[in-house]
Protein backbone atom coordinates (compact mmCIF):
# COMPACT_ATOMS: atom_id res chain seq x y z
CA UNK A 1 0.00 0.00 0.00
CA UNK A 2 1.37 3.37 -0.92
CA UNK A 3 1.21 6.22 1.50
CA UNK A 4 -0.77 8.42 -0.86
CA UNK A 5 -3.49 5.79 -1.15
CA UNK A 6 -4.70 6.53 2.35
CA UNK A 7 -4.19 10.25 2.29
CA UNK A 8 -7.14 11.94 3.87
CA UNK A 9 -9.81 13.32 1.53
CA UNK A 10 -9.42 17.06 1.79
CA UNK A 11 -6.38 18.54 3.48
CA UNK A 12 -7.97 21.93 4.15
CA UNK A 13 -11.18 20.64 5.69
CA UNK A 14 -10.64 17.08 6.93
CA UNK A 15 -13.58 14.77 6.65
CA UNK A 16 -13.46 14.30 10.40
CA UNK A 17 -14.44 17.86 11.28
CA UNK A 18 -17.90 16.85 12.39
CA UNK A 19 -16.59 14.01 14.56
CA UNK A 20 -16.66 14.43 18.35
CA UNK A 21 -13.46 15.53 20.07
CA UNK A 22 -11.60 12.55 21.56
CA UNK A 23 -8.64 14.39 23.11
CA UNK A 24 -9.06 17.94 24.33
CA UNK A 25 -5.98 19.64 25.74
CA UNK A 26 -6.64 23.06 27.24
CA UNK A 27 -4.03 25.46 28.59
CA UNK A 28 -1.60 22.82 29.87
CA UNK A 29 1.44 24.13 31.74
CA UNK A 30 4.17 22.18 33.48
CA UNK A 31 7.45 23.25 35.01
CA UNK A 32 10.25 21.79 37.05
CA UNK A 33 11.10 24.70 39.32
CA UNK A 34 12.10 27.54 37.05
CA UNK A 35 12.28 25.33 33.98
CA UNK A 36 9.09 25.57 31.96
CA UNK A 37 8.49 22.38 30.03
CA UNK A 38 4.99 23.14 28.78
CA UNK A 39 3.55 26.60 28.52
CA UNK A 40 -0.19 27.06 28.00
CA UNK A 41 -0.57 24.34 25.38
CA UNK A 42 -3.97 23.77 23.82
CA UNK A 43 -4.96 21.44 21.03
CA UNK A 44 -7.64 18.92 20.29
CA UNK A 45 -7.94 15.74 18.30
CA UNK A 46 -11.24 14.63 16.86
CA UNK A 47 -12.30 11.04 16.54
CA UNK A 48 -10.55 9.46 13.57
CA UNK A 49 -7.97 12.18 13.20
CA UNK A 50 -4.23 11.54 12.96
CA UNK A 51 -2.26 14.48 14.33
CA UNK A 52 1.50 14.73 14.22
CA UNK A 53 3.26 16.74 16.92
CA UNK A 54 6.71 17.83 15.83
CA UNK A 55 9.40 20.25 16.87
CA UNK A 56 13.04 20.33 17.90
CA UNK A 57 14.16 18.08 20.74
CA UNK A 58 13.40 19.50 24.13
CA UNK A 59 10.36 21.32 22.79
CA UNK A 60 8.08 19.44 25.17
CA UNK A 61 6.25 17.33 22.60
CA UNK A 62 6.89 13.98 24.29
CA UNK A 63 5.97 15.45 27.66
CA UNK A 64 2.70 16.76 26.23
CA UNK A 65 1.96 13.32 24.79
CA UNK A 66 2.61 11.61 28.12
CA UNK A 67 0.28 14.04 29.88
CA UNK A 68 -2.58 12.65 27.79
CA UNK A 69 -2.55 9.28 29.58
CA UNK A 70 -1.27 10.64 32.86
CA UNK A 71 2.25 9.24 32.67
CA UNK A 72 3.35 12.83 33.22
CA UNK A 73 1.56 15.20 35.55
CA UNK A 74 0.83 18.84 34.79
CA UNK A 75 0.32 21.81 37.07
CA UNK A 76 -2.42 23.71 35.32
CA UNK A 77 -4.87 23.34 32.49
CA UNK A 78 -6.96 20.33 31.68
CA UNK A 79 -6.91 17.30 29.44
CA UNK A 80 -10.16 15.54 28.66
CA UNK A 81 -10.10 12.19 26.87
CA UNK A 82 -13.46 10.90 25.71
CA UNK A 83 -15.20 12.99 28.36
CA UNK A 84 -12.87 11.91 31.20
CA UNK A 85 -10.63 14.52 32.82
CA UNK A 86 -7.09 13.13 33.11
CA UNK A 87 -5.89 15.46 35.86
CA UNK A 88 -8.97 15.00 38.04
CA UNK A 89 -8.21 13.38 41.39
CA UNK A 90 -11.30 11.21 41.15
CA UNK A 91 -10.47 9.88 37.72
CA UNK A 92 -9.69 6.18 37.56
CA UNK A 93 -6.43 6.72 35.68
CA UNK A 94 -5.76 2.99 35.34
CA UNK A 95 -9.10 2.47 33.64
CA UNK A 96 -8.59 5.45 31.34
CA UNK A 97 -5.12 4.21 30.36
CA UNK A 98 -6.54 0.82 29.43
CA UNK A 99 -8.56 2.64 26.75
CA UNK A 100 -5.60 4.58 25.31
CA UNK A 101 -2.88 2.72 23.46
CA UNK A 102 0.69 3.90 23.73
CA UNK A 103 3.78 3.12 21.69
CA UNK A 104 7.21 4.04 23.04
CA UNK A 105 10.43 5.08 21.37
CA UNK A 106 12.27 2.04 22.70
CA UNK A 107 9.32 -0.37 22.27
CA UNK A 108 9.33 -1.44 25.93
CA UNK A 109 8.22 -4.96 25.23
CA UNK A 110 8.41 -7.12 28.33
CA UNK A 111 11.66 -9.07 27.84
CA UNK A 112 10.67 -11.97 30.11
CA UNK A 113 7.51 -12.77 28.15
CA UNK A 114 7.01 -14.19 24.68
CA UNK A 115 5.70 -11.96 21.91
CA UNK A 116 2.19 -13.37 22.28
CA UNK A 117 2.30 -13.10 26.09
CA UNK A 118 3.28 -9.45 25.69
CA UNK A 119 0.05 -8.93 23.80
CA UNK A 120 -2.21 -11.01 26.03
CA UNK A 121 -1.03 -9.82 29.48
CA UNK A 122 -3.15 -6.68 29.79
CA UNK A 123 -6.06 -8.24 27.89
CA UNK A 124 -6.28 -10.98 30.52
CA UNK A 125 -5.38 -8.95 33.62
CA UNK A 126 -7.19 -5.72 32.80
CA UNK A 127 -10.01 -6.58 30.39
CA UNK A 128 -10.55 -10.02 32.01
CA UNK A 129 -10.59 -11.76 28.68
CA UNK A 130 -10.02 -15.51 28.69
CA UNK A 131 -6.56 -16.72 27.70
CA UNK A 132 -7.98 -18.27 24.54
CA UNK A 133 -9.82 -15.11 23.56
CA UNK A 134 -6.76 -12.95 24.24
CA UNK A 135 -4.49 -15.28 22.27
CA UNK A 136 -6.86 -15.32 19.33
CA UNK A 137 -6.97 -11.53 19.32
CA UNK A 138 -3.19 -11.39 19.72
CA UNK A 139 -2.59 -13.76 16.81
CA UNK A 140 -4.93 -11.80 14.58
CA UNK A 141 -3.08 -8.58 15.39
CA UNK A 142 0.33 -10.19 14.91
CA UNK A 143 -0.76 -11.34 11.47
CA UNK A 144 -2.04 -7.83 10.78
CA UNK A 145 1.38 -6.32 11.51
CA UNK A 146 3.03 -9.09 9.48
CA UNK A 147 4.49 -11.06 12.39
CA UNK A 148 2.14 -14.02 12.67
CA UNK A 149 5.11 -16.40 12.75
CA UNK A 150 6.82 -14.68 15.70
CA UNK A 151 4.24 -15.37 18.43
CA UNK A 152 6.48 -17.76 20.35
CA UNK A 153 9.66 -15.70 20.08
CA UNK A 154 11.05 -13.57 22.85
CA UNK A 155 11.41 -9.85 22.11
CA UNK A 156 15.21 -10.05 22.12
CA UNK A 157 15.04 -12.37 19.12
CA UNK A 158 13.29 -9.73 17.00
CA UNK A 159 14.70 -6.75 15.14
CA UNK A 160 13.83 -3.26 16.35
CA UNK A 161 11.26 -2.79 13.63
CA UNK A 162 9.61 -6.09 14.47
CA UNK A 163 9.59 -5.25 18.17
CA UNK A 164 7.91 -1.94 17.47
CA UNK A 165 5.23 -3.62 15.39
CA UNK A 166 4.62 -6.05 18.26
CA UNK A 167 4.34 -3.03 20.56
CA UNK A 168 1.71 -1.55 18.25
CA UNK A 169 -0.16 -4.86 18.25
CA UNK A 170 0.06 -4.94 22.05
CA UNK A 171 -1.56 -1.52 22.24
CA UNK A 172 -4.23 -2.36 19.66
CA UNK A 173 -5.18 -5.52 21.54
CA UNK A 174 -6.89 -3.35 24.14
CA UNK A 175 -9.26 -1.93 21.51
CA UNK A 176 -8.16 1.61 22.31
CA UNK A 177 -10.21 4.69 21.51
CA UNK A 178 -6.97 6.49 20.63
CA UNK A 179 -3.29 5.71 20.11
CA UNK A 180 -0.34 7.74 21.35
CA UNK A 181 3.00 7.33 19.56
CA UNK A 182 6.14 8.66 21.24
CA UNK A 183 8.80 8.89 18.50
CA UNK A 184 8.01 5.35 17.35
CA UNK A 185 10.71 5.25 14.67
CA UNK A 186 13.51 7.25 16.30
CA UNK A 187 15.33 4.19 17.62
CA UNK A 188 15.08 2.22 14.40
CA UNK A 189 17.48 1.57 11.56
CA UNK A 190 16.37 3.29 8.36
CA UNK A 191 15.32 0.08 6.62
CA UNK A 192 13.03 -0.83 9.51
CA UNK A 193 11.30 2.53 9.69
CA UNK A 194 9.17 1.89 6.64
CA UNK A 195 7.63 -1.31 8.06
CA UNK A 196 6.52 0.55 11.17
CA UNK A 197 5.27 3.57 9.23
CA UNK A 198 3.29 1.29 6.93
CA UNK A 199 1.48 -0.18 9.92
CA UNK A 200 0.79 3.31 11.27
CA UNK A 201 -0.39 4.51 7.88
CA UNK A 202 -2.80 1.61 7.62
CA UNK A 203 -4.04 2.38 11.11
CA UNK A 204 -4.70 6.01 10.17
CA UNK A 205 -6.48 4.82 7.05
CA UNK A 206 -8.72 2.65 9.19
CA UNK A 207 -9.80 5.73 11.10
CA UNK A 208 -7.82 5.28 14.33
CA UNK A 209 -7.52 8.44 16.41
CA UNK A 210 -3.78 9.07 16.63
CA UNK A 211 -1.46 11.53 18.32
CA UNK A 212 2.02 10.99 16.92
CA UNK A 213 5.20 12.62 18.12
CA UNK A 214 7.65 12.09 15.31
CA UNK A 215 10.32 13.56 13.07
CA UNK A 216 9.03 11.60 10.08
CA UNK A 217 7.96 14.49 7.91
CA UNK A 218 6.84 12.15 5.12
CA UNK A 219 4.32 10.61 7.48
CA UNK A 220 3.30 14.03 8.74
CA UNK A 221 2.83 15.34 5.21
CA UNK A 222 1.05 12.44 3.61
CA UNK A 223 -0.78 10.66 6.38
CA UNK A 224 -1.51 13.13 9.17
CA UNK A 225 -4.59 15.32 9.01
CA UNK A 226 -2.93 18.07 11.00
CA UNK A 227 0.50 19.02 12.20
CA UNK A 228 1.16 20.68 15.54
CA UNK A 229 4.52 22.40 15.80
CA UNK A 230 6.06 22.99 19.22
CA UNK A 231 9.11 24.86 20.41
CA UNK A 232 10.21 25.85 23.90
CA UNK A 233 7.17 24.22 25.51
CA UNK A 234 4.68 26.19 23.42
CA UNK A 235 2.47 25.21 20.54
CA UNK A 236 3.45 27.60 17.76
CA UNK A 237 1.44 26.15 14.91
CA UNK A 238 -1.58 23.90 14.53
CA UNK A 239 -2.56 23.52 10.90
CA UNK A 240 -3.76 21.02 8.31
CA UNK A 241 -0.64 19.20 7.20
CA UNK A 242 -0.72 20.51 3.62
CA UNK A 243 -0.93 24.07 4.93
CA UNK A 244 1.86 23.50 7.43
CA UNK A 245 4.24 22.18 4.81
CA UNK A 246 3.27 24.66 2.09
CA UNK A 247 3.31 27.81 4.16
CA UNK A 248 4.27 27.55 7.82
CA UNK A 249 3.15 30.72 9.54
CA UNK A 250 6.04 31.15 11.97
CA UNK A 251 9.68 31.76 11.22
CA UNK A 252 10.62 29.10 13.77
CA UNK A 253 8.67 26.42 11.92
CA UNK A 254 10.14 27.53 8.59
CA UNK A 255 13.66 27.10 9.97
CA UNK A 256 12.76 23.74 11.52
CA UNK A 257 11.30 22.48 8.26
CA UNK A 258 14.19 23.67 6.16
CA UNK A 259 16.61 21.87 8.46
CA UNK A 260 14.70 18.65 8.74
CA UNK A 261 13.69 18.40 5.09
CA UNK A 262 17.19 19.01 3.86
CA UNK A 263 18.33 15.76 5.47
Amino acid sequence: MTISAVRKASPIAPASVEQPVTIEITGISKSYGALEVLNDCSMSIRKGEAVVVCGPSGSGKSTLLKCVNGLETFQSGSIVVDGVSVGDRNTDLTRLRSRIGMVFQHFELYPHLSVLENITLAQVKVLRRSKAEASEKGMALLRRVGLGDKAGCHPAQLSGGQQQRVAIARALAMDPIAMLFDEPTSALDPEMIKDVLDVMTELAGDGMTMMVVTHEMGFAHHVADRVVFMDGGRILEDAPSSVFFAQPSTERARIFLSKILRQ
Partner: protein, 219 residues
Protein backbone atom coordinates in the same frame (compact mmCIF):
# COMPACT_ATOMS: atom_id res chain seq x y z
CA UNK B 1 43.79 -37.76 67.48
CA UNK B 2 45.25 -41.22 67.51
CA UNK B 3 42.58 -42.61 69.80
CA UNK B 4 39.69 -41.31 67.68
CA UNK B 5 37.38 -44.15 66.79
CA UNK B 6 35.64 -43.53 63.45
CA UNK B 7 32.69 -45.58 64.71
CA UNK B 8 32.05 -42.78 67.18
CA UNK B 9 31.00 -40.60 64.28
CA UNK B 10 28.28 -42.99 63.22
CA UNK B 11 27.15 -43.31 66.83
CA UNK B 12 26.60 -39.56 67.18
CA UNK B 13 25.41 -39.09 63.60
CA UNK B 14 21.66 -38.94 64.46
CA UNK B 15 22.33 -36.22 67.01
CA UNK B 16 24.40 -34.21 64.53
CA UNK B 17 21.83 -34.83 61.79
CA UNK B 18 19.12 -33.36 64.02
CA UNK B 19 21.33 -30.32 64.47
CA UNK B 20 21.80 -30.01 60.73
CA UNK B 21 18.03 -30.22 60.19
CA UNK B 22 17.53 -27.44 62.72
CA UNK B 23 20.07 -25.32 60.82
CA UNK B 24 18.32 -26.01 57.53
CA UNK B 25 14.89 -25.36 59.02
CA UNK B 26 16.14 -22.06 60.37
CA UNK B 27 17.72 -21.22 57.02
CA UNK B 28 14.65 -21.98 54.91
CA UNK B 29 12.17 -20.28 57.21
CA UNK B 30 14.44 -17.25 57.61
CA UNK B 31 14.87 -17.04 53.83
CA UNK B 32 11.13 -17.17 53.29
CA UNK B 33 10.27 -14.73 56.07
CA UNK B 34 13.22 -12.45 55.37
CA UNK B 35 12.44 -12.51 51.65
CA UNK B 36 8.81 -11.54 52.22
CA UNK B 37 9.57 -8.81 54.73
CA UNK B 38 12.50 -7.68 52.60
CA UNK B 39 10.27 -7.37 49.52
CA UNK B 40 7.78 -5.37 51.51
CA UNK B 41 10.54 -3.05 52.80
CA UNK B 42 11.99 -2.65 49.31
CA UNK B 43 8.62 -1.73 47.83
CA UNK B 44 8.01 0.68 50.73
CA UNK B 45 11.34 2.35 50.01
CA UNK B 46 10.82 2.56 46.27
CA UNK B 47 7.14 3.26 45.90
CA UNK B 48 5.94 4.38 49.30
CA UNK B 49 5.12 7.96 50.27
CA UNK B 50 8.00 9.79 51.89
CA UNK B 51 7.34 8.93 55.58
CA UNK B 52 6.83 5.24 54.74
CA UNK B 53 9.98 5.18 52.62
CA UNK B 54 11.93 6.87 55.41
CA UNK B 55 10.62 4.35 57.92
CA UNK B 56 11.77 1.47 55.74
CA UNK B 57 15.15 3.12 55.13
CA UNK B 58 15.58 3.63 58.88
CA UNK B 59 14.79 -0.02 59.53
CA UNK B 60 17.20 -1.24 56.88
CA UNK B 61 20.06 1.02 57.88
CA UNK B 62 19.46 0.50 61.61
CA UNK B 63 19.55 -3.28 61.46
CA UNK B 64 22.51 -3.33 59.14
CA UNK B 65 24.43 -1.33 61.76
CA UNK B 66 24.17 -3.89 64.55
CA UNK B 67 25.77 -7.33 64.81
CA UNK B 68 23.46 -10.27 64.17
CA UNK B 69 24.51 -12.01 67.36
CA UNK B 70 23.24 -9.05 69.34
CA UNK B 71 19.86 -9.16 67.62
CA UNK B 72 19.54 -12.89 68.36
CA UNK B 73 20.60 -12.46 71.94
CA UNK B 74 18.52 -9.41 72.78
CA UNK B 75 15.48 -10.81 71.06
CA UNK B 76 15.74 -13.93 73.17
CA UNK B 77 16.09 -11.92 76.38
CA UNK B 78 13.74 -9.02 75.74
CA UNK B 79 10.67 -10.52 74.10
CA UNK B 80 9.77 -12.74 77.08
CA UNK B 81 10.05 -9.63 79.27
CA UNK B 82 7.63 -7.77 77.01
CA UNK B 83 5.05 -10.52 76.48
CA UNK B 84 5.47 -12.06 79.90
CA UNK B 85 6.34 -15.62 78.90
CA UNK B 86 9.27 -17.39 77.23
CA UNK B 87 8.90 -17.99 73.49
CA UNK B 88 11.43 -20.76 72.99
CA UNK B 89 14.87 -20.63 71.47
CA UNK B 90 13.83 -21.68 67.95
CA UNK B 91 11.01 -19.16 67.55
CA UNK B 92 13.10 -16.44 69.08
CA UNK B 93 16.09 -17.17 66.84
CA UNK B 94 13.88 -17.47 63.76
CA UNK B 95 12.20 -14.12 64.35
CA UNK B 96 15.59 -12.52 64.96
CA UNK B 97 16.89 -13.95 61.67
CA UNK B 98 13.82 -12.84 59.75
CA UNK B 99 13.96 -9.24 60.94
CA UNK B 100 17.74 -9.13 60.48
CA UNK B 101 17.98 -10.80 57.08
CA UNK B 102 15.00 -8.78 55.80
CA UNK B 103 17.20 -5.69 56.00
CA UNK B 104 19.81 -7.29 53.74
CA UNK B 105 17.32 -8.87 51.38
CA UNK B 106 15.51 -5.52 51.12
CA UNK B 107 18.60 -3.81 49.75
CA UNK B 108 19.25 -6.61 47.25
CA UNK B 109 15.63 -6.58 46.11
CA UNK B 110 15.60 -2.79 45.90
CA UNK B 111 18.69 -2.84 43.69
CA UNK B 112 17.09 -5.56 41.56
CA UNK B 113 13.87 -3.62 41.10
CA UNK B 114 15.73 -0.42 40.30
CA UNK B 115 17.80 -2.22 37.69
CA UNK B 116 14.64 -2.70 35.61
CA UNK B 117 14.37 0.27 33.24
CA UNK B 118 11.80 2.84 34.38
CA UNK B 119 10.11 2.82 30.99
CA UNK B 120 9.02 -0.76 31.62
CA UNK B 121 6.84 0.52 34.43
CA UNK B 122 5.55 3.28 32.16
CA UNK B 123 4.69 0.73 29.48
CA UNK B 124 2.90 -1.51 31.97
CA UNK B 125 0.92 1.40 33.40
CA UNK B 126 0.11 2.73 29.93
CA UNK B 127 -1.41 -0.63 29.03
CA UNK B 128 -3.90 -0.24 31.86
CA UNK B 129 -2.26 -2.46 34.47
CA UNK B 130 -2.62 -1.05 37.97
CA UNK B 131 0.59 -0.25 39.89
CA UNK B 132 0.47 -3.50 41.86
CA UNK B 133 -0.20 -5.54 38.72
CA UNK B 134 2.64 -3.74 36.95
CA UNK B 135 5.03 -4.78 39.72
CA UNK B 136 3.64 -8.28 39.98
CA UNK B 137 3.65 -9.15 36.27
CA UNK B 138 6.27 -6.89 34.69
CA UNK B 139 8.79 -5.44 37.14
CA UNK B 140 9.31 -8.18 39.75
CA UNK B 141 9.77 -11.11 37.33
CA UNK B 142 12.57 -9.18 35.62
CA UNK B 143 14.05 -7.99 38.92
CA UNK B 144 14.08 -11.47 40.43
CA UNK B 145 16.12 -12.83 37.54
CA UNK B 146 18.72 -10.14 38.04
CA UNK B 147 18.96 -10.45 41.80
CA UNK B 148 18.71 -14.22 42.18
CA UNK B 149 22.49 -14.88 42.31
CA UNK B 150 23.00 -12.18 44.96
CA UNK B 151 20.03 -13.43 46.97
CA UNK B 152 21.51 -16.92 46.94
CA UNK B 153 24.92 -15.63 48.00
CA UNK B 154 23.27 -13.80 50.87
CA UNK B 155 21.52 -17.03 51.79
CA UNK B 156 24.84 -18.85 51.99
CA UNK B 157 26.04 -16.20 54.41
CA UNK B 158 22.78 -16.69 56.28
CA UNK B 159 23.40 -20.43 56.53
CA UNK B 160 26.79 -19.76 58.06
CA UNK B 161 25.21 -17.22 60.40
CA UNK B 162 22.77 -19.82 61.72
CA UNK B 163 25.70 -21.16 63.78
CA UNK B 164 25.34 -18.06 65.95
CA UNK B 165 22.23 -19.48 67.61
CA UNK B 166 24.48 -21.21 70.11
CA UNK B 167 24.09 -18.05 72.20
CA UNK B 168 20.49 -18.95 72.92
CA UNK B 169 21.25 -22.63 73.41
CA UNK B 170 19.48 -23.81 70.27
CA UNK B 171 20.76 -27.16 69.01
CA UNK B 172 21.72 -26.30 65.46
CA UNK B 173 24.46 -28.23 63.68
CA UNK B 174 27.29 -26.19 65.18
CA UNK B 175 25.95 -26.52 68.70
CA UNK B 176 25.42 -30.25 68.24
CA UNK B 177 29.01 -30.62 67.11
CA UNK B 178 30.25 -28.55 70.01
CA UNK B 179 28.26 -30.56 72.56
CA UNK B 180 29.47 -33.85 71.12
CA UNK B 181 33.06 -32.70 70.89
CA UNK B 182 33.14 -31.73 74.54
CA UNK B 183 31.29 -34.82 75.72
CA UNK B 184 33.52 -37.20 73.78
CA UNK B 185 36.71 -35.26 74.41
CA UNK B 186 37.62 -35.01 70.71
CA UNK B 187 37.51 -31.27 70.08
CA UNK B 188 39.88 -31.18 67.11
CA UNK B 189 38.27 -34.06 65.24
CA UNK B 190 34.70 -32.85 65.64
CA UNK B 191 35.43 -29.24 64.83
CA UNK B 192 37.34 -30.40 61.75
CA UNK B 193 34.30 -32.44 60.81
CA UNK B 194 32.11 -29.33 61.19
CA UNK B 195 34.47 -27.37 58.94
CA UNK B 196 34.28 -30.07 56.27
CA UNK B 197 30.47 -30.11 56.37
CA UNK B 198 30.06 -26.30 56.30
CA UNK B 199 32.68 -25.98 53.59
CA UNK B 200 31.19 -28.71 51.42
CA UNK B 201 27.65 -27.33 51.64
CA UNK B 202 28.60 -23.70 51.08
CA UNK B 203 31.13 -24.44 48.37
CA UNK B 204 28.62 -26.60 46.48
CA UNK B 205 26.00 -23.87 46.80
CA UNK B 206 28.29 -21.08 45.61
CA UNK B 207 29.50 -23.22 42.70
CA UNK B 208 25.92 -23.75 41.59
CA UNK B 209 25.32 -20.01 41.82
CA UNK B 210 28.32 -19.41 39.59
CA UNK B 211 26.93 -21.96 37.21
CA UNK B 212 23.61 -20.09 37.20
CA UNK B 213 25.48 -16.84 36.61
CA UNK B 214 27.25 -18.22 33.57
CA UNK B 215 23.99 -19.22 31.92
CA UNK B 216 22.97 -16.85 29.16
CA UNK B 217 20.34 -14.44 30.45
CA UNK B 218 17.05 -15.88 29.41
CA UNK B 219 15.59 -13.63 26.74
Amino acid sequence: MSDFDPDLLSAVAPFLWDGLLTSFGLLLLAMAGGGLLGTLLAVMRIAGPRPIAALAAGYVNGLRSVPLIMVIFWFYLLVPLVIGRPIGAFTSALVAFVIFEAAYYAEIIRAGIQSVPKQQLAAALASGLGPLQAYRFVILPQAVRKMLPILLSQSIALFQDTSLVYVVGLHDFMTAVSVTANREGHLVEFYLFAVVIYFTLCFAASQSIQFLNRQPVSP
